[in-house]
């Protein structure tokens, strides 16, 4: 009843092709942004801000990047953690080695370095695909793990092997308190989500999807596989690299290569699967799900009035993750995003289900 588009006529291509063609969606999005930018910083405790919302935002960004590669272009990657690490360490080096480097510039330059590495490791995708590629991207993972641990230059010869950043500020405004960090990440995520959404709607995005659906057929109709695949790798690893830099700089503050281990890669892949392959919105759903699930599982026993050991809890967590992934792949391969759009379809008819 409230979500019906009767009477919303489009009289121009512009109106027909906008991101949110339905007025209610636009209002909802506006409200959501207002809540995110104004209500949340005012009303949410520092703990939530620091431990849940900021990681959620950064992981959403990384999942978004991965989704472009896996969901839109169909090139499976198990090396996301590696590209995050490249972004983080490159940004760190820019920050430390160049005096007066603006924070945003070093984050973006970190992303650019990740792009270079991403394209480099994407080159095999021109010859190999699917399962072989998945293993090839693992090479990136293991190599960067090793490189950032062993090659002193990357960590600016830090004795402990871990690096840290301090005194972050943007145009003189310090990024110190949880609220500032949250807002900083939020701004990044909103801008990148908008860019990504527009990219996948554009010609290049359609090339990626054609490549995903059937690469040989796409090549036959004149899509250059080299260009399509490498741009997907470039865009994806740029976003992932920026997310990695944010993760290191804003969320962790001090980190070592273990922060970007293979587990991180799997975690991001799960976000993409559970959230929805080939959906920008889905990346956020997936990230929210995977960030919140462990919290929920940790709280559940105490709500139900019994306690379990931490070891058992963490095993149960991995089991539930595993089971959920299989469940989603079987029942809803398009993930939470598809559930969301199904719900919207139903709402359009509600309360008359005809």
């Amino acid at each position: 009843m409230f979500y019906r588009e009767n009477g919303q006529f489009k009289s121009s291509y512009r109106a027909d092709q906008q991101i949110l063609p339905i007025a209610q969606d636009r209002i909802a999005m506006l409200v959501l942004l207002l809540v995110a930018f104004i209500v949340v910083p005012l009303g949410v405790s520092d703990y939530w801000m620091r431990a849940i919302l900021t990681p959620f935002l950064i992981l959403s960004l990384a999942a978004l990047g991965l989704n472009i590669l896996v969901g839109y272009c169909g090139q499976i990657s198990l090396g996301t953690g590696a590209f995050m690490a490249v972004g983080a360490y490159a940004a760190y080096n820019f920050q430390v080695r160049i005096d007066g480097m603006p924070l945003i510039a070093s984050l973006l330059l970190g992303g650019l370095c990740a792009t270079v590495i991403g394209v480099l490791f994407g080159i095999p995708s021109l010859r190999i695909k699917g399962l072989y590629l998945a293993v090839a991207t693992l090479a990136a993972q293991f190599f960067t793990d090793w490189a950032f641990l062993r090659i002193q230059w990357f960590t600016n010869n830090s004795s402990s092997g871990s690096v840290s950043v301090a005194g972050l500020n943007v145009f003189g405004v310090p990024i110190e308190s949880p609220v500032q960090k949250y807002l900083f990440c939020l701004a990044f995520v909103v801008v990148f989500a908008l860019l990504a959404k527009n990219l996948v709607r554009s010609a290049i995005g359609r090339e990626w999807m054609a490549m995903r659906d059937m690469d040989v057929a796409a090549a036959v109709i004149g899509i250059r596989p080299v260009y399509a695949k490498l741009t997907a790798f470039a865009v994806s690893s740029f976003i992932v690299g920026v997310a990695g830099a944010l993760w290191g700089f804003i969320h962790l503050g001090a980190w070592e290569p273990a922060a970007f281990s293979i587990d991180r890669s799997f975690q991001l892949l799960f976000m993409v699967i559970i959230g929805g392959l080939g959906s920008i919105m889905g990346s956020f759903f997936g990230a929210a799900f995977i960030v919140l699930l462990p919290l929920f599982l940790n709280q559940l026993p105490s709500w139900l009035g019994f306690s379990i050991s931490t070891a058992l809890a963490s095993h149960l967590e991995t089991m539930i993750f595993g089971a959920l992934i299989v469940f989603f792949l079987i029942v809803e391969p398009h993930g939470l995003a598809r559930l969301w759009s199904t719900a919207k379809e139903k709402l359009r008819l509600w309360p008359f289900p005809h």
Binding site: G130, V135, F142, F143, H315, L316, F321, G322, A323, I325
Partner: protein, 309 residues
């Protein structure tokens, strides 16, 4: 020279163990077109079951004999792996028939997580030991030829022999038996195999059980070397480049790939490692496989796939 040969042999032995795990991958890929990421988790699960049953049975039934405990534990662990195979087929794979390779790969990732969690929930998460009486003392050979002779680990030799025997058995099974033929048919084309009356679900249970068997053997050998603990499931990550190098569909490829990577890893660690800062074992296999893929995307013995629209 002696040192070089020792390194070489060490590499070959480790490579044989990689092959053992790689064979598990190849088996499942050959017979169901699924790239089984859960092989590592299966190795851990099987090894945990074996280690714990061997510990529990003497307590439950009140006997002392180590051999009897090991035999019973082996049978029980194998039974567990068959049940696992059956459950995987029932609950996951049968519902994903004819899906794309990537979907199936991700499903096995989910299965891997589930098995990791389940194994440690049931069997505990400490370090356990498997004692199947493998000889521990190193063996001195060729003392006349070299200064100081060659030091070989008997344990590794036994492991290599067991792997070799397993490979022969599997090769015969695949090439000579009717079930083996059915397995290969399913691997080529699910739908076609189904349409000529090959029961897909039974074939999948069989092949996952066989993979469970090879996981169990690999788990016992690795477990008696390193102890059974979570890191065992990571050994399987070492087997991935082996499979890629050898070709996903070839058992001989898995063996030769394993040997190549085992040897390459050890030699590179010794001779290149000091120049690059050490610890290059972690990525050497992967980069080797990656470079190789650029030249020959289907691997050493893999089948060339020709795309048609």
């Amino acid at each position: 020279m002696g040192f070089f040969l020792e390194t070489l042999f060490g590499g070959l032995m480790v490579g044989m163990l990689y092959s053992l795990i790689a064979i598990g991958f190849v088996l499942i890929y050959k017979a169901s077109g699924v790239f089984n990421f859960a092989q590592g988790a299966m190795v851990l699960f099987a090894a945990l079951a074996m280690a714990r049953f061997a510990e529990w049975f003497p307590l439950w039934f009140g006997f002392q004999s180590l051999i009897l405990a090991n035999i019973l534990a082996f049978i029980a662990a194998m039974a567990v792996m068959i049940v696992v195979a059956w459950l995987i087929e029932r609950l996951a794979l049968s519902k994903l028939v004819n899906q794309e390779g990537i979907t199936l790969l991700m499903a096995t990732l989910g299965i891997a997580y589930f098995l990791d969690g389940l194994g440690q929930t049931i069997f505990g998460n400490d370090i356990y030991k498997i004692d199947v009486g493998m000889p521990k003392e190193p063996l001195m050979v060729l003392q006349g030829t070299f200064e100081g002779g060659l030091l070989l680990s008997q344990e590794d030799l036994v492991a290599a022999l067991v792997s070799a025997a397993l490979v022969v058995v599997l090769a015969v099974f695949f090439q000579k038996t009717a079930t083996g033929r059915a397995l290969r048919a399913v691997a080529d084309d699910h739908q076609a195999a189904q349409s000529i009356g090959i029961p897909l679900s039974r074939i999948w249970v069989i092949v996952w059980s066989v993979a469970g068997f090879s996981a169990l053997v690999a788990g016992i050998i690795w477990g008696s070397k390193l102890g059974v603990q979570f890191s065992l499931s990571l050994v399987a990550l070492k087997a991935l480049p082996v499979v890629i190098l050898g070709g996903l569909t070839s058992i001989p490829g898995a063996i030769i790939g394993g040997l190549l990577i085992g040897v390459g890893e050890k030699l590179s660690e010794i001779y290149l490692g000091p120049m690059l800062g050490g610890g290059i074992e972690i990525w050497f296999a992967y980069v080797l496989a990656l470079v190789f893929l650029l030249v020959r995307p289907q691997g050493l013995f893999g089948e060339k796939i020709i795309d048609r629209v």
